[in-house]
């Protein structure tokens, strides 16, 4: 039992539970299907990218360019589908683009040996600038393909499509991190890169894969966002990278690599999103959406540090 309470996930779960109980007392609307769907839908894009970010942070790296890439993806997918009229081509070009960006991020880290905090920060600048070089104007949906609209806006049995997409991806990553050797490798690389190399693991290869996976996930999230906005919008998803990273850290993944779970990440995101939602439902000034996560982040990491110290 005491072991159960020592787990980071348990504490996060209790925080989430407290929030849910508190909010439902405050506003009975909180438990409406609509509201739950709204929370889950807005969580799903963050979660999809956070799965990749969990892997990256676990292996001791970070990607700050995800927000800039996300808004770039909305532009590309809308534009290519508008021009070609083909969903396949639209998605294909998004994934090619994301693959390339992930590859570059990874190569800058592994070949040029640039700290990923700096390398992806630079990539963020490059993407933020070049999206306007690609197109100054927002790209509107002129193809009007219903299937595309369905991705972000549709429902299957009352469950929003983005949530379903997230739920399809989720088990892949739970599986990847917990049941395959690759999950172990990411942990080993982040926890002790020397040891993992001495165990015959090619650290750089898996770091590269981590960057590429994260970028590809941004591709999926970007397609959802484009469908949801019905627009390819430059400058959208402002601050997205910080929310993703904060949520993953809140979920117990260490910034120094080594420990991270998908469950923790999911709980981290849900906590942040429920707070966001609660702030709107309770008509509290929306500025608190900045303050509260900041305090929670510091507290959560502090408790985590304490617990780790206790465990030696």
């Amino acid at each position: 039992m005491s072991k159960f309470f020592q787990k980071n996930e348990t504490i996060l779960f209790l925080i989430l539970l407290l929030l849910l109980v508190f909010l439902s007392f405050y506003n009975p609307q909180f438990y409406s299907i609509q509201n739950i769907n709204s929370i889950l839908r807005s969580s799903s894009t963050v979660m999809i990218v956070a799965f990749g970010m969990t892997i990256l942070l676990t292996s001791g790296e970070v990607d700050l360019s995800v927000g800039a890439l996300l808004s770039f993806v909305t532009v590309i997918v809308m534009d290519v589908i508008n021009i070609s009229g083909s969903l396949f081509l639209g998605f294909f070009s998004v994934f090619i683009f994301c693959f390339l960006i992930g590859l570059i991020n990874g190569l800058v880290r592994t070949v040029l040996n640039v700290n990923s905090l700096i390398g992806t920060l630079a990539m963020m600048l490059i993407l933020q600038g070049s999206v306007y070089i690609y197109s100054m104007a927002a790209i509107y949906n002129t193809h009007l393909i219903p299937a595309f609209t369905f991705i972000g806006q549709g429902f299957v049995y009352n469950v929003p499509m983005p949530v379903i997409i997230m739920l399809v991806i989720l088990p892949i990553f739970v599986f990847l991190l917990n049941y395959t050797r690759y999950g172990r490798y990411f942990t080993a690389i982040g926890s002790n890169p020397f040891s993992s190399n001495l165990s015959g693991i090619n650290n750089n290869r898996y770091k590269l894969i981590g960057f590429i996976i994260t970028s590809l996930l941004v591709g999926i999230a970007g397609i959802i966002l484009a469908s949801l906005m019905d627009t390819g919008q430059q400058g959208s998803a402002k601050g997205f990278e910080l929310i993703v990273i904060a949520a993953v850290l809140l979920g117990g993944t260490s910034f120094k690599g080594g420990s991270g779970t998908i469950l923790g990440t999911i709980l981290g995101i849900l906590i942040l999103k429920v707070i966001d939602n609660g702030i709107i439902l309770m008509s509290i000034p929306q500025e608190f959406q900045l303050v509260v996560p900041g305090v929670i982040l510091i507290l959560a990491v502090y408790f985590d540090t304490l617990r780790k110290e206790k465990n030696g």
């Binding site: 609307q29 709204s38 806006q153 627009t231 400058g235």
Partner: protein
């Protein structure tokens, strides 16, 4: 005949040459957020008029960075532009620039909102634009036989300009039906955050029949949240603001869309008017403190008079003449100071 045409050409050339000599040669414009569609169209209007007058227009983009805007103003003064035009990132932040420009002897024209120490300003009337949209929506509701407007206002409560729009909209609406503001939201003026906050609000209460957005992104974000919540669109009326770019034209021309009204602000017209104002200021002509630019409620029936919309090519062309002929207030009904 030949002589006549030669004579005409000479007159035109001469008059052009004369007018050029009286005009400023170089004008610098610092836009607050140049990647936004509205400002791209403002710049288009400025450029169109500058080309007609043979003025060289240079544009810098502060990209919402108030510090950068200050630097760019200094850079323009260093370059020695004849007139400095700017849309402040915020009005309080440009007071020192105005002071510096005065010391430097550079005339300044502002766009948007008044700032302490300014000479002249060109801008739409936010309250009146919102009012015109509210009036149009009110008429639609009455024609549908409805007596109540339940409004989701996807706003930007922290900018006085956008608050004025919402206020005008609600007050006009109240003249036709019983107007209730069910949700007052902060969508940051961005479509993605508008979708997010509107989704949460609709989850709390979706008994709504009017969505108002303080710009096109907010209105579309509200509408997208409505659609993503799977709600029926038959009784809904959506009104946006700004005629920023192609967004409202695309949506408005869709079959069966609830997006019926746009409080058009004609950014190209704003730019066109602004350039004239800058020339007047340079030439020492007496300029008004606030030059009001035209606004109008656009619907699917009347937009073609002002915009030639090429949906396939995703282009729009403004009819400057028709826009200029819209009857325009000499003074706004309400200003930020009235809030």
């Amino acid at each position: 005949m030949k002589i006549v045409s030669w004579f005409l050409a000479a007159v035109i050339t001469l008059s052009l040459a004369f007018s050029v000599s009286a005009n400023p040669k170089r004008i610098g414009y610092i836009v607050n957020y140049g990647t936004h569609e509205w400002y791209q169209n403002v710049i288009f209007g400025l450029q169109s008029r500058a080309d007609e007058l043979g003025i060289e227009l240079e544009v810098m983009d502060a990209n919402l960075d108030i510090n950068k805007q200050t630097q760019q103003a200094e850079d323009f003064m260093t370059k020695g532009v004849d007139v400095l035009m700017m849309t402040p990132v915020n009005e309080e932040g440009v007071v020192p620039i105005l002071r510096k420009a005065k010391a430097d002897g550079t005339p300044v024209v502002l766009e948007g909102n008044p700032a302490k120490g300014m000479t002249t300003l060109f801008a739409i009337c936010d309250y009146d634009a919102g009012f015109k949209a509210g009036d149009a929506v009110g008429r639609i509701l009455v024609s549908r036989g409805e007596s109540e407007a339940r409004v989701m206002d996807v706003g930007l409560p922290l900018l006085s300009a956008t608050v004025l729009r919402s206020l005008g909209f609600m007050e006009a609406l109240a003249q036709h039906v019983n107007a209730v503001k069910v949700h007052e939201l902060d969508g940051s003026g961005m479509i993605d955050s508008s979708v997010e906050v509107a989704s949460a609000a609709l989850a709390a209460d979706s008994n709504i029949n009017v969505i108002y957005g303080i710009n096109d992104g907010s209105a579309l974000g509200g509408l997208q949240a409505w659609r993503a919540a799977g709600l029926p669109e038959d009784d809904l009326v959506v009104a946006g603001t700004g005629s920023e770019g192609l967004a409202f034209l695309n949506e408005m021309t869709k079959e069966g869309t609830p997006y019926l009204v746009e409080a058009a602000m004609f950014p190209e017209g704003v730019g066109y008017t602004g350039m004239n104002l800058a020339v007047d200021l340079f030439n020492g002509v007496d300029v008004p403190e606030h030059k009001v630019t035209p606004t109008l409620a656009l619907t699917v029936h009347n937009f073609a008079k002002y915009y030639d919309f090429d949906k396939a090519g995703q282009k729009r062309a403004i009819n400057f003449e028709n826009v200029a002929n819209i009857p325009t207030e000499t003074k706004c009904t309400k200003y930020a100071s009235d809030l």
